[in-house]
Amino acid sequence: MLAGSKLMAMGMGIVFSFLVCLVFIMLAMSRLAMALQKPELEERPDGGLSVPQQDHPSARGDLVAVITAAVTRYRTTHN
């Protein structure tokens, strides 16, 4: 019973903390989403016909860059 009440207190505490954190993260996320979408909306109207293929090279750069950075970081930490 003592274990039970301790468990209850902790359990509800964690559930509430978790979901309150989630509230703040969601508020932040929504703000981020709006920030990300506004410039897009402004760009698009005047000639923003972004050709997807042209985006690719940078994406490829991203891929290799991030993985390279990750590997480097990991190796410097571990070796």
């Binding site: 509800m12 509230v23 969601m26």
Partner: protein
């Protein structure tokens, strides 16, 4: 091998029945009756009921180690695969838009989990009654019934108390079906006419990007603070990402249809195979049924009470009824809120507002399951 009437008679069901098996078959039949005639969660209770009948047939051994249902149980439930695949399907079927529009309704989903932890204490308290002997793991598995979420209950029970799995699953789905009976009186009792009549403002538009980011937000927190909930939350958010990403229509369709349907059939039959006389026909089962009802009542009440708190804090913008939807039982509980709201004001449709706490309740009970796993399963 001898051929004759004697050995043949000995292989009939009539010669081998035990009373327990007969009773369990009747209970299986009752579940099927409730599923077909009363429309109690038929997608689950019909296969569970049929599984109970099949696995209690003497001689046939369908629920045994080399029987069909025993085999399905071993592959799909012991491993946790089936409830997790269903959770993926739930994620793919759920639109979290209402929750994203009103993030504070997560608190309602949190408050309704109170039912879980009160029930945990209740189960431990019941040990003082002779005949009951629940371990902390048992009590935790029973308490999760209050989460009003089938796959979460089955997943947790399969980890913490496999022997009670049958009773817990039956209780969870039965009470989810009984939500329209259990909740309204509590909701009416705890609120006054004015509160119930609150008309909430229309939900804001939620962008596609927010819906795509949402599963990551939930998963992120889960990873940081509660990794034991990660299998459940992970598959829920994965399914939801399949849905919202918009680039994997084929996979989203598959998660929402083929996979969830196939797994539901197999899961139901396998859960039914745990309804054996020696595990189910015990006084513990009565305790589980009682505690389950208790858990639903408490969860509903704390959800509504938190709704009242938010009603005050927001200066009356929140209708406290929507707190009742925080127990999850999607989408039944939200519909009940809508119905009780309409009783007071015939033009007040609360369905969309209740969907927020309703899906918050799914996350809330998965979080609660993670807490129980972290503390009790460790």
């Amino acid at each position: 091998m001898e051929i004759g009437l004697e050995p043949l008679w000995l292989s009939t069901g009539l010669a081998n029945f035990t009373w327990g098996q007969v009773l369990m078959m009747l209970i299986g039949g009752l579940l099927i009756y409730l599923a077909i005639v009363r429309k109690f969660e038929p997608l689950l209770l019909l296969p569970i009921g049929f599984g109970a009948i099949l696995s209690n047939i003497p001689v046939a051994g369908i629920g045994g180690d080399t029987g069909l249902l025993g085999y399905i149980y071993h592959v799909g439930i012991e491993t946790g695969v089936f409830p997790l695949l269903i959770f993926m399907g739930v994620g793919a079927l759920t639109d979290f838009g209402a929750l994203i529009a009103m993030p504070w309704t997560l608190l309602l989903g949190a408050a309704a989990q109170f039912g879980i932890f009160v029930t945990l204490m209740g189960a431990l308290a019941l040990n003082m009654v002779p005949g009951f002997n629940f371990t902390l793991a048992d009590a935790s598995a029973i308490a999760i019934i209050g989460g009003a979420d089938g796959p979460t209950a089955i997943f947790l029970a399969s980890r913490l108390a496999p022997d009670l799995l049958g009773a817990i699953a039956v209780a969870a789905y039965s009470y989810m079906a009984l939500v329209p009976i259990i909740q309204p009186p509590i909701m009416r009792w705890l609120t006054n006419e004015e509160e119930r009549g609150v008309v909430m403002q229309q939900l804001r538009h939620v962008s596609k990007l927010e819906k795509v980011l949402f599963p990551f937000a939930v998963l992120f927190l889960c990873i940081l603070f509660l990794p034991t909930a990660a299998p459940l939350i992970g598959m829920l958010t994965f399914g939801n990402l399949l849905r919202e990403s918009g680039v994997v229509e084929r996979l989203s369709h598959s998660a929402q249809n083929e996979i969830i349907n196939i797994v539901t059939i197999l899961l139901g039959l396998a859960v039914g195979s745990k309804l054996s006389a020696d595990k189910f026909l015990t006084v513990e089962t009565l305790g589980i049924l009682g505690l389950g009802a208790f858990a639903f009542c408490i969860g509903t009440a704390t959800g509504v009470l938190m709704g009242k708190v938010m009603h005050r804090v927001t200066g009356g913008k929140i209708n406290p009824l929507i707190g009742a939807a925080g127990v999850s039982a999607v989408p039944m509980a939200a519909r009940v809120v809508n119905k009780v709201g309409l009783e007071t004001n015939h033009h007040n449709f609360l369905l969309m507002h209740a969907m927020g706490p309703n899906v918050a309740g799914v996350i809330g009970s998965a979080v609660a399951a993670g807490v129980l796993l972290a503390i009790v399963g460790g």
